[in-house]
């Protein structure tokens, strides 16, 4: 229903204009502000591109931990956080492995959107989905 170009395309063009043409015109003390704006735009673009898939994956892993609980991911995440606080998974190696898989995947998923360069700088490749899924699945068993 919406007209083209997509909002993602428009954001990408706006970001290019900002960084390539507008930022060089700004005085040095405002350069950081221009890059902050570009960062905010990049986060919005990456979130839009990523969609809900990785969060749904986390939801499925959480449901594996809480099979009889309600399906709302927010509710499951809250229960998960509360159990981590109490060390609830420490009594079972398989549960502990499953819990850690969720922690890793949640963190990597968020950073892919917020700061993928930070992942790379820490030795994490951008294309480790397959490995993450493999490790995560293994831990659910």
């Amino acid at each position: 229903m919406r007209d083209l170009p997509t909002s993602l395309d428009l954001l990408a063009l706006a970001r290019e204009l900002l960084l390539d043409e507008l930022a060089p015109l700004l005085p040095p003390e405002r350069q950081r502000d221009a890059h902050l704006v570009a960062t905010a735009m990049a986060i919005a673009m990456r979130e839009e591109e990523a969609g809900e898939a990785w969060q749904e994956d986390i939801g499925r892993l959480l449901h594996g931990l809480y099979p009889s609980a309600a399906r709302r991911p927010e509710t499951l995440l809250r229960a998960f956080a509360a159990d981590l606080r109490n060390g609830a998974f420490e009594t079972s190696p398989s549960l502990e492995r499953a819990a850690r898989a969720i922690l890793w995947r949640l963190t990597i998923g968020k950073l892919r959107e917020a700061n993928p360069q930070f992942l790379i700088a820490n030795g994490f490749s951008e294309v480790n989905d397959k490995r993450a899924v493999a490790v995560g699945s293994e831990r659910e068993q």
Binding site: R85, W104, T107, N115
Partner: protein, 285 residues
């Protein structure tokens, strides 16, 4: 240089008059800081309390300090000097009649409890922080006698001029604390400014920083204690990042810089996972 309160601040920061008193105490202890000149509590003068300190040459910008090739040879000595300065500031110890506004220090357990209380104020769950806090609660080090802690002792908060340290800045978070707290904070990955491999503030190996500290303090550092305080540093930095975005979310401050800082909490969470689950760090990398 004149310092006065920001329009919206982080909850745990000192007021400017209190910061002036801390600056006065550490200056008297021989720490490299801008000389505190006078303070004024009367809001009629500039609209809020303020203090004035002597201007010191140098730049605090983190990336030039860690990345400028011209500073390459000076960095190990800079790290050693920072270690010695930290040991010197820790000679300021309670009780002090001039610092009675600083709350008493309750040890590592109280420090962790304070972070947990901060986290409990957030409506959205943070599983990694809950997990790391639980680890910290179950791995508390033995308390040491408290010292003055800067609590933001890091690259970006000291001035360097020609490769030499000229002053340590930003004392607004200072308080009584554990002697290893500032060491964990200084080495925390969040303050390495593009040189993650240089674990002492992005400027040198830990050994240079540790040697400087140990030579001045006479106290041998324990890696297990530093590990605990580095975990603590990452949890604390995550909470501070969330508090920064609260300036927008709750305080209504229309400031992109502070609003976007909240996203950095996840960087701390990655580091917590790497510190506390190194086997899986290799699996996910």
């Amino acid at each position: 240089m004149l310092r006065c309160d920001a329009a919206t601040g982080v909850p745990s920061s000192l007021g400017r008059l209190e910061e002036f008193a801390v600056l006065h105490a550490v200056h008297a202890a021989g720490v490299a800081v801008p000389e505190p000149l006078f303070a004024c509590a009367d809001p009629a003068v500039v609209g809020k309390p303020f203090f004035v300190m002597r201007r010191v040459a140098g730049s605090a910008a983190g990336r030039p300090i860690t990345l400028d090739p011209a500073l390459e040879a000076a960095r190990p000595a800079l790290a050693g000097r920072l270690g010695r300065e930290l040991a010197r500031l820790q000679r300021v110890r309670p009780p002090r009649a001039d610092l009675t506004f600083l709350p008493p220090y309750g040890g590592p357990a109280a420090a962790i409890a304070e972070l947990r209380a901060c986290l409990d104020r957030y409506p959205n769950p943070r599983p990694v922080l809950e997990w790391a806090l639980h680890w910290a609660e179950t791995h508390l080090p033995e308390p040491l006698p408290p010292v003055l802690a800067h609590r933001d002792f890091r690259t970006g908060n000291y001035l360097v001029d020609g490769g030499r340290l000229t002053a340590i800045l930003d004392w607004e978070f200072a308080g009584w604390g554990d002697p290893d707290e500032d060491i964990g904070w200084f080495c925390c990955k969040g303050w390495r400014f593009g040189r993650l491999d240089r674990e002492a503030g992005g400027i040198a190996d830990r050994a240079h920083f540790y040697r400087g500290y140990e030579s001045e303090s006479g106290r041998r550092l324990d890696p297990a204690r530093i590990h605990f305080w580095e975990v603590y540093a990452n949890i604390r930095w995550a909470v501070i990042a969330m508090q920064q975005s609260d300036r927008f979310l709750i305080g209504g401050a229309r400031n992109l810089s502070t609003a976007i800082t909240g996203r950095r909490a996840t960087e701390c969470e990655l580091e917590l996972l790497m510190l506390l689950d190194p086997v899986n760090a290799a699996a996910y990398a």
